[in-house]
């Protein structure tokens, strides 16, 4: 088996930030504001600012159900 895998640190940081944003369970309007202004999302600003608020709310609900952090982090 191949032991090495490609890493994209820029995309990883973006995914980390997006995970934390939804984990915070903020109101959809606040999620939209942060997506539009937080430098963590700058690389894909056009994509994140196209999000529909009602779809953000639905995603918030599924994250609330399924998200789990590593112990102590």
């Amino acid at each position: 088996m191949t032991n090495t895998s490609l890493t994209d640190e820029g995309l990883a940081a973006f995914q980390d930030a997006l995970s934390e944003l939804f984990y915070a369970q903020l109101a959809p309007s606040e999620v939209a504001r942060r997506l539009a202004t937080d430098p963590a999302f700058a690389a894909h600003r056009a994509w994140v600012t196209s999000f529909h608020k009602r779809l953000v709310e639905a995603q918030n609900a599924t994250v609330h159900r399924w998200a789990e952090r590593r112990a102590g982090r």
């Binding site: 088996m1 191949t2 032991n3 895998s5 490609l6 890493t7 994209d8 640190e9 820029g10 995309l11 990883a12 973006f14 995914q15 980390d16 997006l18 995970s19 934390e20 984990y23 109101a27 959809p28 309007s29 894909h44 994509w47 994140v48 196209s50 999000f51 529909h52 608020k53 009602r54 779809l55 953000v56 709310e57 639905a58 995603q59 609900a61 599924t62 994250v63 159900r65 399924w66 998200a67 789990e68 952090r69 590593r70 982090r73």
Partner: protein
């Protein structure tokens, strides 16, 4: 050229009620293939390995012996940009499982689930970029190295914005094409994205690279009611826990059946809520509706083929 009709099968549900619901279908010889959440024993976040009950392992072995077993991953998180120890362990356990049983192919979900400190989450889409395509091709190689059989991806139902629906077909095609990866076309997922974004489902479907489709999923879901946004239209969820919207999904299935030249199998998916006989009856009826749609599509093909041959003679 006439095509061989695809197999029609069931996704194995990890609950006792599945036995009661599906047994009449198995006994009648109507289930040609079985798909299993291949990481059900080891995939969830807590790292506990849960042994399958004997009735499940017997069923898996039976279909593996018939070369009619298909593996579907749930927990890998395919497009995580920085893989962690959990995911490397997942690949090791996938390799062990694929040495234990013969799978026709193994697939995962398009998108990503975990990142950073998260060891479990729901699926997210991601922006369509050259870097993400490269990442996808790398992850497909990892899956193939572990599984030692054909591997591929299922189109994602989750959408946060329009590009997640309108660009997904091309995104998947770019990842899968170089290695001739398997595409699972989930027609309920296509419809879900269309409904949630107000897009025509048929147009979304027609964008998919049908030549890569080896498997089709047909399922149901449920609705989420937003309460904190000005737009309160319900959001369709690919939760598999509700009835199949036949009037919407079966025409999409027929469209796909007519176009997927290399289609091998169609699976009906359902999760949970099989606890009453009424639910179990609905489950069987929906499977039979899917089976009938497949048979009708290929009966039409045979009739058209025969007519063409007569005309040519």
């Amino acid at each position: 050229m006439r095509r061989t009709p695809p197999r029609v099968g069931l996704n194995l549900i990890d609950e006792k009620a599945f036995r009661a619901a599906a047994l009449p279908l198995f006994e009648a010889g109507l289930v040609d293939a079985l798909e299993v959440d291949i990481d059900n024993e080891w995939g969830n976040s807590r790292g506990r390995v849960r042994a399958r009950p004997a009735w499940q392992t017997e069923l898996l072995d039976l279909f593996a012996d018939e070369d009619a077993l298909y593996g579907h991953g749930v927990w890998f998180s395919f497009l995580t940009a920085r893989l962690d120890d959990r995911q490397h362990r997942w690949l090791e356990l996938l390799a062990e499982e694929c040495q234990r049983r013969r799978y026709r192919h193994v697939t995962e979900h398009f998108g990503w689930m975990t990142s950073g400190p998260f060891i479990q989450n729901t699926l997210f889409p991601l922006p369509y970029t050259p870097g993400a395509v490269e990442l996808g091709r790398d992850r497909l190689c990892l899956l193939a190295d572990a599984a030692r059989c054909p591997v591929g991806l299922e189109n994602l139902a989750t959408t946060l914005g329009p590009a997640d629906a309108t660009e997904q077909a091309a995104f998947l095609g770019e990842i899968l094409t170089p290695s001739s990866g398997v595409l699972i076309l989930d027609v309920h997922n296509v419809w879900t994205q269309a409904v949630n974004l107000g897009l025509p489902a048929e147009e979304l479907l027609l964008g998919y690279p049908f030549h890569l489709v080896r498997e089709i999923h047909v399922s149901g879901g449920s609705w989420f009611q937003p309460e904190h946004t000005a737009d309160r239209r319900p959001v369709r969820m690919d939760s598999h826990d509700g009835a199949m919207p036949r009037a919407a999904v079966l025409p999409l299935l027929a469209m796909a059946l007519a176009r997927c030249e290399h289609l091998e199998v169609v699976f009906y998916e359902r999760r949970g809520v099989l606890g009453t006989e009424a639910y179990r009856e609905t489950y069987r009826e929906e499977f039979l509706a899917v089976r009938a749609a497949v048979e009708q599509a290929f009966a039409s093909q045979a009739t058209n083929g025969a007519t063409n041959e007569e005309n040519a003679a």
